[in-house]
């Protein structure tokens, strides 16, 4: 297994697509992409993954489905009445679907942008939706728009990284995050 992976990495061309036509051909014959993703901002991080399927190789348009989870309980403050607050440790999960488009620049770089819709769910440590002294802990969940854009760098035909910005309504924290990705197209 190790030997096969070594050969795959070392033998792959550094110049995978020689021109725009080559890139379109490659997009058409390798419709599947998988990404490991990490949207983050100060004091907040999520880990997740995306599967992308190429729908139109001439225009580099694809559909994606994503899942993100915050891997720790982030402290948040919820107002539940005049002068009454809950301080909670929040896990947050987002499942999203959408469309994206890549703009080919050269052999290594492309710009991407996409949008979609997601469902944001939460889980609190120590409580579900409890009521304390007449004040209910409200779960801030629901649909969220998703927008993301950035630039990709391809190491070879299979391996790429992406960096950009991502917007999702996170309900209890700020919505704009930096978006870092490692993945591949196969």
């Amino acid at each position: 297994m190790l030997r096969i992976l070594s050969l795959l990495l070392i033998s792959s061309s550094v110049f995978p697509q020689f021109d725009l036509g080559g890139a379109k051909t490659y997009e058409g014959s390798h419709k599947h992409s998988a990404y490991f993703e990490m949207p983050f901002r100060t004091h907040d991080i999520a880990l997740g993954g995306t599967y992308r399927h190429s729908l139109n190789s001439d225009n580099f348009i694809g559909a994606f489905v994503s899942f993100y989870a915050r891997p720790y309980g982030k402290a948040i403050l919820l107002k539940s009445g005049p002068n009454f607050y809950f301080q909670l440790k929040e896990y947050r999960y987002v499942t999203a679907v959408g469309l994206d488009k890549k703009i080919w620049i050269n052999n290594h770089y492309d710009v991407f942008f996409g949008g979609g819709v997601g469902l944001a769910l939460v889980d609190y440590r120590g409580t579900g939706t409890g009521v304390y002294r007449g004040h209910k802990i409200v779960k801030k969940e629901g649909l969220t728009p998703l927008a993301q854009a950035g630039v990709s760098y391809k190491f070879n035909r299979w391996i790429l990284i992406r960096i950009g910005g991502q917007y999702m309504d996170m309900k209890t924290t700020k919505s704009f995050r930096t978006y870092a990705v490692a993945g591949g197209q196969f």
Partner: protein, 166 residues
């Protein structure tokens, strides 16, 4: 060698190194050898474990009332109530159980903040030649006051829920 080719080769070697290290670990774990049990081994799983509670003591809150519940607090399965005058305290509680803790604070402007956290109290199992040993995995509860300023000062008004009374 061009700069980007060099970068690619470096990345490849880093990835190969990670794969090689992982493969070695998998091979060593699958070996039939086993370690000798340490002298301080707990051979059977204890029935009681530790719940460590951290809180904030300040001028507005010289003592903090807390309540420890078995499971989520709304199930109302109260284990004990206490008033903490230090920044933390450990409790001995039955193991294999999820606990939640509710702490009540006052802020300078008259706000009440209810801090809630929860964790499991458990023991982890390690296998040795002579048999298993159990290691304490205490529950760690953080009900420190993490938002000491009033909402408008903290700039978090946008993210607060609307008032709902029940």
């Amino acid at each position: 060698m061009k700069k980007r080719e060099r970068l690619f080769v470096i990345c490849s070697f880093v990835l190969l190194g990670v794969l090689f290290f992982s493969a070695c670990q998998i091979l060593s774990e699958s070996d039939d050898e086993c370690d000798t049990r340490p002298s301080n081994c707990l051979e059977s799983k204890p029935g009681m474990g530790t719940l460590e509670v951290s809180c904030t003591i300040n001028s507005k809150n010289p003592s903090v009332p807390i309540a420890i519940y078995r499971g989520d607090f709304e199930k109302n399965d109260l284990v004990l109530r206490d008033t903490l005058s230090g920044s933390g305290k450990s409790y001995t509680v039955p193991t294999d159980q999820y606990y939640s803790v509710v702490a009540e604070y006052r802020r300078g402007n008259g706000d009440t903040v209810i801090a809630i956290d929860g964790d499991d109290v458990d023991f982890s199992r390690n296998d040795y030649c002579e048999g298993p040993c159990y290691e304490s995995d205490p529950g760690e509860i953080d009900v420190r006051l993490l938002f000491p300023k009033v909402a408008s000062e903290a700039g978090r008004t946008k993210f607060m829920t609307k008032a709902r009374h029940y």
